[in-house]
Amino acid sequence: MSLSQAARDRIVNDFIPRYPSKRAALMPSLWLAQEEAGWLGPEVFEEVGELLDLHPTDVASVASFYVMFHRRKIGDRLIEVCENPSCFLNGSDQTYARICDRLGLEAGHGGHGMQTTPDGKFSVRPTECLAACDYAPVVQVDLRFYGPVHEADVDAFLANMEAFSIQGKPSVSMANGPQAVPVDGWEGHAPPAPGSAA
């Protein structure tokens, strides 16, 4: 595994000139390398380091800081289930467990490691907030967002992910435009505001 000539050209001609220091081209260069190979191996650290005048260990130390850079081969598709409170309150634990179950993996809660199916088709792991909490529980597959994927939706989701895509969709609250519109008859459904009786 090594960088293609096209990638090298892009790093030299596009990324490096964007910044006053060569080093700053590291993040986009690592993304590009990962897009080519799916993960980042020791050769990449050497090759990127050579282009940016950095020691390979220095490159590796940066790459290993960020959870989205993979330093070993992962499955063809990476499924990540948000486990932060907004998704948790809407049942993301159950979603995660069902996805693992359907793929023949063990849903180990508390651990944060990645699991990969024996055929190498899928990797699964829990992840942190994806900033799409109105579609909770949210699932990220290869950097695209899907939701809400409840436990009962998992089979349908695995069969046809695109049906759950929220990419480019407006917020749940903005289905009818940008205006924040009061819910019809909200006063009848709401408890009295604290202190309003006094």
């Binding site: 486990e83 944060h112 909490c133």
Partner: protein
């Protein structure tokens, strides 16, 4: 921006003639065909703020206008934007602008929708800042997960370059040159902290820097140069301030921190989402009037008013105004941990059925994983909290664990770390212990209210 500001007492008619108190300023592109592209942005009055700045104003009067508008930063710290710009300009160039689009706070998602809907609104705000402060090189740092947002921005930048809004001698102004590029993060919550973000942009591990020197100073900013770091939503307000005037902006919502605000609400509400409302809208209105009330009609148990990094508000405190000033002043101030905090306006609502111990254990796990490891109290303390809370949440808590937790929170919190992540990590834990101590005690005495595998709550679809 083709809209005129409504008179203060004129109710806006919408749809079926329902009177509405508020007309959106920032999210006008939503629901319009091609709303995110340049032609529609121009139809909506786009780039008029920049044109006015360049053709009718000088840089200092732009800064004065933004200062007079009393626009406070929307990213969480709430620093006055005009003051930041003026301070940066007093330091010698070259200077930089960095847009913080690393929105990763659990429960906060306004920036993502703002970028998706109206990338040119952000770009115009950036260009006004570059004109006012004298900046030629600007960077947008967007979280790695938000690939779609990065693509939307790249496309908008291409459009703006082609139309001459970015590049050399912008709008015919000799010497007004700006270049803007997008840099993607790769999954590190701490990059939302401005100095960690700059470290990452420079190609390093995202660990916060020691201040002073501050980012606006020589030696403290990006590549050691004076740097303005602004949130996406902050910059999106700027063109509207120039077009409609500082007085108009300052008249919206809470007087101490005025303007439109993208509130994001999630958790146990029926209609989670982004709600653009005036700063200072009450929590009660947000939950019941706009977000459709609580799922399964449960009562509100607690609220994270500024997402996970803030202290919990009890469910009895719903009359609170949601704005930077209110939530950082007494009685919303709890020594030694400080203000409850407003953050970036990401509201998580917990209903009665929530097992708060499980939520807090999850929060502790999040901060332990996201601690960058630079400062000892945070590096060691967050993992300690995670261990103790994990033990409690799994039903193995011991009575003395709560004392340990309190001790650890006091030794992380209270500005003992270079950035706020340390303080953030204890906020929900310390406030939950203050508000819901009997629940923790029940766990520690062998009476856990639910299994450790989840909230134990039946999940209603949709």
């Amino acid at each position: 921006m083709t809209q005129t500001p409504p008179a203060a007492d004129a109710p806006i008619q919408h749809g079926a003639g329902q009177p509405l108190p508020w007309e959106p300023v920032l999210m006008t592109a939503v629901g319009r065909e091609g709303g995110r592209f340049l032609p529609d942005y121009l139809l909506r009055g786009g780039y008029q703020g920049l044109t006015k700045a360049v053709q009718e104003m000088d840089p200092d009067s732009v800064i004065k206008e933004v200062t007079d508008s009393k626009l406070l930063g929307r990213g969480g710290a709430g620093f006055p934007t005009g003051v930041k710009w003026g301070g940066t300009k007093r330091n010698p160039g070259p200077r930089h602008l960095v847009v913080n689009a690393d929105e990763s706070e659990p429960g906060t998602y306004g920036n993502r929708y703002a970028i998706d809907a109206d990338p040119h609104g952000l770009i115009e705000g950036m260009l006004v800042c570059c004109f006012a402060v004298g900046i030629q090189q600007a960077y947008i740092y967007i979280r790695g997960e938000n690939l779609y947002g990065a693509e939307v921005l790249e496309h908008a930048l291409k459009e703006a370059y082609a139309a001459g809004y970015i590049g050399k001698n912008i709008l015919g102004k000799e010497g007004f040159n700006v270049d803007i590029s997008v840099t993607r993060g790769a999954g590190a919550y701490v990059c939302g902290e401005e100095t960690a973000l700059m470290e990452s942009l420079e190609g390093r591990r995202a660990q916060p820097r020691i201040r002073p020197p501050f980012p606006i100073e020589v030696g403290g900013g990006l590549f050691g140069r004076p740097t303005v770091v602004n949130n996406v939503e902050t910059l999106m307000c700027v063109p509207h301030i120039l077009v409609r005037g500082a007085a108009w902006f300052a008249s919206i919502g809470a007087p101490a921190c005025p303007g439109p605000k993208l509130y994001t609400i999630s958790g146990h509400v029926n209609r989670p989402g982004v709600y653009e409302l005036p700063m200072g809208t009450t929590l009660y209105d947000l939950i019941y009037k706009y977000a459709g009330g609580m799922k399964r009609n449960q009562k509100v148990k607690a609220v994270s008013p500024g997402a996970l990094a803030c202290q919990l508000l009890p469910g009895t405190d719903l009359n609170v105004q949601m704005d930077t000033a209110t939530l950082t002043r007494p009685p919303h101030w709890h020594p030694p941990f400080g203000p409850v905090g407003f953050g970036a306006g990401g509201i998580i609502v917990y209903g009665e059925e929530t097992d708060i111990v499980q939520v807090v254990a999850r929060a502790a796990g999040f901060f332990a994983r996201e601690s960058c490891g630079k400062c000892v109290p945070c590096r060691e303390g967050t993992h300690w909290m995670q261990d103790v809370l994990g033990r409690i949440a799994h039903g193995h808590g011991r009575p003395r664990d709560l004392g340990i937790l309190e001790d650890v929170t006091r030794n992380i919190g209270g500005r003992k770390t270079l950035c706020a992540l340390g303080d953030f990590s204890v906020n929900s834990v310390a406030s939950a212990l203050r508000l819901f101590r009997p629940e923790f005690e029940a766990y520690c005495n062998g009476h856990a209210r639910s299994s450790a595998a989840g909230s134990g709550v039946p999940v209603a679809a949709g």
